[in-house]
């Protein structure tokens, strides 16, 4: 079983409840270790009183205040997820504290809940946030509580497929799970037409299949699709997990990002 560890950033809300339940499902399948983290916000103006023991006392009081609501959330989830330990609780700015925890404790995966929305503004805001731009590991954004029995989709353009497979092999090592490969050519970005373009897509797909074969695995299905990102929505629906990789440098106007923002399945993003 896995020795990987995931950090789940939680709040007292439905999205976090869904994220915990989904992560527990993943942990049962892969042996992934789970640690929840709750960050208590400072006051509205962002002031923290004093220094030294005064500040420490204030922080302790803030943590205590948040503890009850999160403790109730975790306690409720422990019924179906007994391996879920007690949450770490810190006071401070959320993104900074999460980043700090990820860096000092060497996690393999960062997870948080984000309810899927018709308008993708919230999803895109997260992707472009300072936290996400500096994440040292892949991120699992849990949008819905879906069964992994629906299968996993590795989605990418021709150069991304191997990165996707790398993330998949690391997380699902030794685990029987259905995997589909989908290599996309987006006309939004003026992707070239013609046999050369198709040939490059096939090359990308075959390279991904070869990586899987080296680990004794075969995808359930391998496909190439072409079109504008909006027309490809149906190809990526109804999966238990959609796995992709994004380049931090070229994230603006990324058609893969556009597709992921409209997809209601949980998405796991690796960074190139």
């Amino acid at each position: 079983m896995s020795t990987l560890k995931a950090l789940i950033a939680v709040k007292a809300d439905l999205a976090s409840s869904i994220a915990i339940r989904y992560a527990c499902q993943l942990a049962k399948l892969t042996g992934l270790g789970l640690q929840t983290l709750y960050v208590v916000k400072p006051d509205e103006q962002g002031h923290t009183p004093g220094t030294g023991w005064v500040r420490q006392t204030w922080e302790d009081a803030m943590v205590l205040k948040g503890r009850d609501s999160i403790a109730q959330l975790i306690q409720a989830e422990k019924i179906t997820c007994p391996g879920l330990g007690n949450p770490k609780m810190v006071a401070g700015k959320r993104d900074m504290e999460i980043l700090h925890e990820l860096q000092v404790s060497d996690y393999d995966l960062f997870t948080e809940g984000i309810l899927h929305a018709f308008e993708p503004a919230n999803f895109l805001k997260k992707i472009h946030s300072r936290l996400y731009r500096n994440l040292p590991c892949p991120v699992l954004m849990v949008k819905n509580l879906v069964s992994l029995d629906k299968g996993i989709l590795a989605l990418g353009e021709e150069n991304d497929m191997q990165s996707c497979v790398t993330v998949f092999l690391k997380l699902f090592e030794g685990v029987e799970v259905d995997l589909d490969l989908l290599c996309c050519r987006f006309q939004d970005t003026g992707g070239a037409d013609g046999p050369d373009a198709t040939s490059r897509l096939e090359t990308g797909l075959r390279a991904a299949e070869k990586m899987l074969a080296a680990k004794g695995r075969t995808p359930r299905a391998s496909r190439i699709v072409q079109g504008v990102s909006q027309s490809l929505d149906r190809s990526v629906r109804d999966y238990g997990l959609v796995l992709s990789s994004l380049s931090r440098e070229n994230i603006e106007n990324s058609p893969i990002l556009d597709l992921l923002s409209r997809n209601p399945s949980p998405v796991l993003i690796g960074w190139r």
Partner: protein, 297 residues
Amino acid sequence: MRILVAVDQNPYSAHAVRQVAGLAMNTWADITLLGLQPKKRTGANTSASISGRRKIDPSFSKVMHAYRDTFLSHFEGETSPYTQLKYEYELLQTKPNLWQEFYVGRSSRKDFNVYIRQGNPVKEILSQAGQGGSDLIALGCERGQACFWEEWGNVPQKVAASAACSVWVIKKEKDIKKILCCLDHDRVSQESLEMISQMVTLHGAELEIVGLTEGEGLPKNVERKLDAILKYYTAQKIRPWIELVKISSLESFISQEGRWGLLALWMGEKSILQKAFSRKTVDRLIKAGESSVLILR
């Protein structure tokens, strides 16, 4: 549950009867089958028209019998909750150490009544629903550009707008493979949750629950309700998809995502759907949409 199925003589009504029979198989509801007799069928020179007394049109009566048989054919003999009065001899204790044999009639466990009414169909349907204490009115119509009743026009829209109870407008021959439920308040009855659960099970459909928002996110009470609903359905082995949609984008969302077989709207007193979904909008959804519509009250 008490279901009123309002029918005329057209194929969409026959489809509605079959759909309700499927639901009743799982819910064992009390059923009222209400036929609205077509206009001007008594004939100009019949003794009925001369005397001023209306008579039942024999051909419509046959249609109603056929609907009854169709409905009851979904239930098997002895196990049917609608099996009528059954007489048999039974020994019953009348005094200590004394038993007497009686010829006893036992009625069905659930009611199944057939009525025919004449007149304004909307008025008659609402009147029957009120008298019978119906929880759900079900009626069919054609799928596509208009959801009319032949002869009477937009009966389904008017019933949906005016009924005090839930209304299910069943579009003919549209398979229900996906069900969309829209929620914006926290007063959701157990009966309505169960009705949706039955629909999902009956049709093997996927369920999506839309939380309607006015601003950035859901109000806390609605979020808590959504969490409770998610847990309820998960316990029923149903995994609904959840999506947040701004009220202002709802019509656009529904028209773009027109892949649902059934659109369910939880419209309670506190519902902003009542304001956002004006009567005109509900009419439009029922009339022009491809999906069947379930107004949950």
